[in-house]
Symmetry: C2
Subunit: 154 residues, 2 copies
């Protein structure tokens, strides 16, 4: 098994490591970063923490960060040997979900609707948690859900 699949040795032979305890960055892609910033900062109210025009704009979301990348630029190899960030870049509609309480979700929904953003879906999951779905200007499928959706006892 090990000889046939050198990238997958028996996992009980590997040194132990605790699993990562949190996501730090969530990435989506958009070619029009100005439109993305109007949407995520202007409409959703997220704080812009980094902006490299034409390449990326990053937003703070509580303890984490939402990254909007232009795949045309991020698919290029890094030109900076001090910060050799590997290339990446996806095409087509991605997905991400924000956590919000019901009152927070309602307020955001009203603001989105007033701005002309279509609420594409709005329903309750079997455990009772509500989710709403809408699109960013690049077509990414965004969700706002009650965090109880993924509660351990949910």
């Amino acid at each position: 098994m090990t000889d046939e699949m050198p990238q997958e040795p028996r996992q009980d032979d590997l040194p132990a490591a605790a699993p990562p305890g949190a996501m730090l960055e969530t990435a989506l892609y958009a070619e029009d970063l100005d439109a993305a910033e109007r949407f995520y900062a202007g409409l959703l109210g997220l704080e812009v923490i980094v902006r490299v025009p034409g390449r990326h704009v990053f937003f703070r979301v509580g303890p984490g960060v939402l990254l909007l990348f232009n795949p045309e630029e991020t698919q290029k190899p890094s030109g900076n040997p001090d910060f050799p960030v590997p290339p990446h870049g996806a095409r087509g509609p991605g997905h991400a979900c924000f956590a919000a309480t019901l009152p927070e979700m309602e307020a955001l929904r009203e603001r989105l609707v007033a701005a002309g953003v279509e609420i594409e879906s709005d329903f309750h999951w079997p455990n009772g948690a509500r989710s709403i779905y809408f699109r960013d200007p690049a077509g990414n499928s965004l969700e706002i859900a009650e965090p109880g959706l993924w509660a351990r006892d949910g």
Copy 2:
């Protein structure tokens, strides 16, 4: 301005709403979900919380969830009127970043290397935070970073 861009009315005319306080879900795409599960659960140690063979596998990451979707399936419209999840699905290498302390990062790095996973990059950002980069079996660019990378005073 409002007439020309009906989807972007003046934002100070909109009802107020607090920005979302946290990301709840981070999504990546992989056509081979079995390989993804061996990597994210078996190697990184993440707990599998939902598995729909061929369509998706979800992993708990602290207070959030990492979603691995097969875009061949998620780009199809939902067939369930009770849970009308909008279609999405990206192609090409995406990006996500896990938070870890330095000792946690070192342990994960040793385990990845022992499993034959290449550490594609490993460096310190200007504020001192360290990041390591590697690929999942689908080619997504994964990062493990010290959370101080995005600290407010970082």
